[in-house]
C-alpha cells in the first residue's frame, strides 16, 4: 500500500514527515478481524442489522476476547460521559440535593436465605469502584441497590484487579436505576475457576442532572454445616 512511503516528502519539515510516516506504519496495525468478515457476510442476509450495541444488551458473554475488548471500549465511553456529567452542577432535578452535596450511598441489601454477605462497595458519583473477592468464589450473587436517574454497569471477572486486558474473561451487567432506590439481584456461576473481582461504574446520561448513587453487594452461598459424625 505504501510502496514509496519512505521517499515521499509531503511537508517542508523532514522531522514531521518522518514522524507521521512512523505513526502510520502499516505493519504495526492489524487488518480487519475475522468477526468483521463474518459480519460482512451477514449484512445482506439481514439488512436490518444495525451493528453491535454497546449498552443495549444487558449481559455480555463470558470468556470471549472480543467481548472483553468491547467492554474496554464501554469503559472508554463511560469515561467520556463522566467527564461531562461529573463537572456539571447537580443541584436540580428529581432526587437531587439542594445543596449540591453528594447523594448518600444506599445501605447494602440483606442477603436472602441460603446466601451470605461477603463484601460491598458503592459510590455516590461517577467514580469507578470495585473490590477483589477474598476468597474467590465460583458462585456469587450481585445484589445492587441504585438510586437515581441513570444506569450502573457492574463488571465481574475471574481474575483480580481492575485492569481489563483484551483477553480477560469478564461479564458485565447494566442495571437501570430509579429515584426510589431500585433493587436488583443476579446469581452467577463462573464457567471455570472462580470470580475474583467485581467493579462498577455509574453511566450517567448526558441529560442527567443528579448523581446516581448505588451499592453493590456480593453474596456467596451459605456454607451448609456438614452432618455431625457423632450423631
Amino acid at each position: 500500500m505504501k510502496l514509496f512511503r519512505r521517499t515521499a516528502r509531503h511537508t517542508s519539515d523532514p522531522r514531521l514527515d518522518e514522524s507521521l510516516h512512523d505513526i502510520f506504519e502499516d505493519r504495526r496495525t492489524p487488518g480487519a478481524p475475522e468477526a468483521l468478515y463474518e459480519f460482512l457476510r451477514e449484512v445482506p442476509v439481514n439488512s436490518a442489522e444495525r451493528g453491535r450495541g454497546r449498552f443495549g444488551i444487558a449481559w455480555h458473554g463470558l470468556g470471549r476476547a472480543g467481548r472483553a475488548a468491547s467492554l474496554a471500549v464501554v469503559v472508554v465511553l463511560v469515561a467520556g460521559v463522566l467527564a461531562v456529567t461529573v463537572g456539571l452542577p447537580r443541584t436540580i432535578g428529581p432526587g437531587g440535593s439542594a445543596t449540591g452535596e453528594p447523594q448518600p450511598i444506599p445501605s447494602a441489601p440483606a442477603a436472602p436465605a441460603g446466601w451470605s454477605f461477603q463484601a460491598s462497595f458503592g459510590s455516590g458519583g461517577g467514580l469507578w469502584v470495585g473490590t477483589n473477592l477474598l476468597p474467590p468464589a465460583p458462585r456469587i450473587a450481585i445484589h445492587v441497590v441504585c438510586k437515581g436517574p441513570d444506569e450502573v454497569a457492574v463488571f465481574v471477572a475471574t481474575d483480580p484487579g481492575m485492569h481489563l486486558p483484551d483477553t480477560r474473561p469478564v461479564q458485565a451487567l447494566v442495571l437501570s436505576c430509579d429515584p426510589e432506590g431500585k433493587e436488583s439481584r443476579v446469581e452467577m456461576t463462573a464457567p471455570s475457576g472462580a470470580f475474583q473481582q467485581v467493579s462498577a461504574v455509574g453511566i450517567p446520561s448526558p441529560a442527567s442532572l443528579v448523581d446516581t448513587s448505588y451499592v453493590v453487594s456480593i453474596e456467596v452461598p451459605s456454607v451448609t454445616p456438614a452432618p455431625s459424625a457423632s450423631s
Binding site: K2, D13, L16, T29, V75, W128, L164
Partner: protein, 182 residues
C-alpha cells in the same frame, strides 16, 4: 459543507437498497467489500484510535453501503466509496465523542493500552496531537500519510474541492509542526 450533508451526499448518490436483493447482488457486495475491508478497518482505526470502535464504525459503514448497493454502478469505485462512508461514520463518531469526552480514564486504568491503533498514535507528540485535529483535518492527514494519496486523489475520494483539502492539510500540519518544535 457540513458533516451531515457530506454523509447524505456520499450515500444519496447511490440511493437506498430495496428489499428482495438477488443472491448474485449479495455475493457481489460481499466479494467486493471484503476486498476493501482491511483498508476500511485501518482507516477507521487510524481515525478513531481504537480497534473496537473502528470495528463498530466499519460495521455501521457496511450496513450503509449495503443499503446503497443496488445503485452502485462502478465496481472499480467500491474502495473509494467505502472509504468515504467509513470516513463519514468516523467523523460523526469523533464529533460525538468530543461533545462528551475530556478525560482519559482509560489511560489511568490502562484499559486499552494494548490497542494497536492507540499505541501507533501515542508514539510521539505528533501522534498525540492528531487527536486535537478536527475530524475533517484528521481524515486528510490519514489519507495523505497512511495511503500516500496525492491531494487530488484525496479531494476526489472525499468529494471535496482541492482547495479545501489543501487548506485542511495546511492547518493540520501547522498544528502538528508546532509539536515537533516544542
Amino acid at each position: 459543507m457540513s458533516l451531515a450533508t457530506e454523509v447524505q451526499v456520499a450515500e444519496g448518490a447511490i440511493g437506498p437498497a430495496a428489499e428482495g436483493e438477488s443472491s448474485a447482488l449479495s455475493a457481489e457486495f460481499v466479494r467486493l467489500a471484503a476486498r476493501h475491508l482491511d483498508g476500511a478497518f485501518k482507516l477507521a482505526g487510524y481515525l478513531l484510535g481504537d480497534s473496537g470502535e473502528a470495528e463498530d464504525a466499519v460495521q455501521e459503514a457496511l450496513i450503509r453501503a449495503w443499503r446503497a448497493w443496488p445503485r452502485m454502478r462502478d465496481p472499480d469505485s467500491v474502495g473509494p466509496w467505502l472509504d468515504r462512508i467509513v470516513a463519514n461514520v468516523c467523523k460523526t463518531r469523533i464529533g460525538a465523542r468530543r461533545r462528551v469526552r475530556s478525560i482519559a480514564l482509560n489511560d489511568e486504568l490502562g484499559v486499552v493500552a494494548a490497542d494497536p491503533f492507540r499505541a501507533a498514535l501515542a508514539r510521539d507528540a505528533v501522534g498525540r496531537a492528531l487527536e486535537r485535529l478536527s475530524p475533517e483535518q484528521r481524515v486528510v492527514v490519514v489519507l495523505r500519510y497512511w495511503r500516500d494519496m496525492p491531494l487530488e486523489q484525496i479531494a476526489t475520494r472525499l468529494e471535496l474541492p482541492l482547495g479545501t483539502v489543501k487548506s485542511r492539510l495546511h492547518y493540520a500540519l501547522r498544528l502538528l509542526g508546532r509539536e515537533i518544535d516544542r
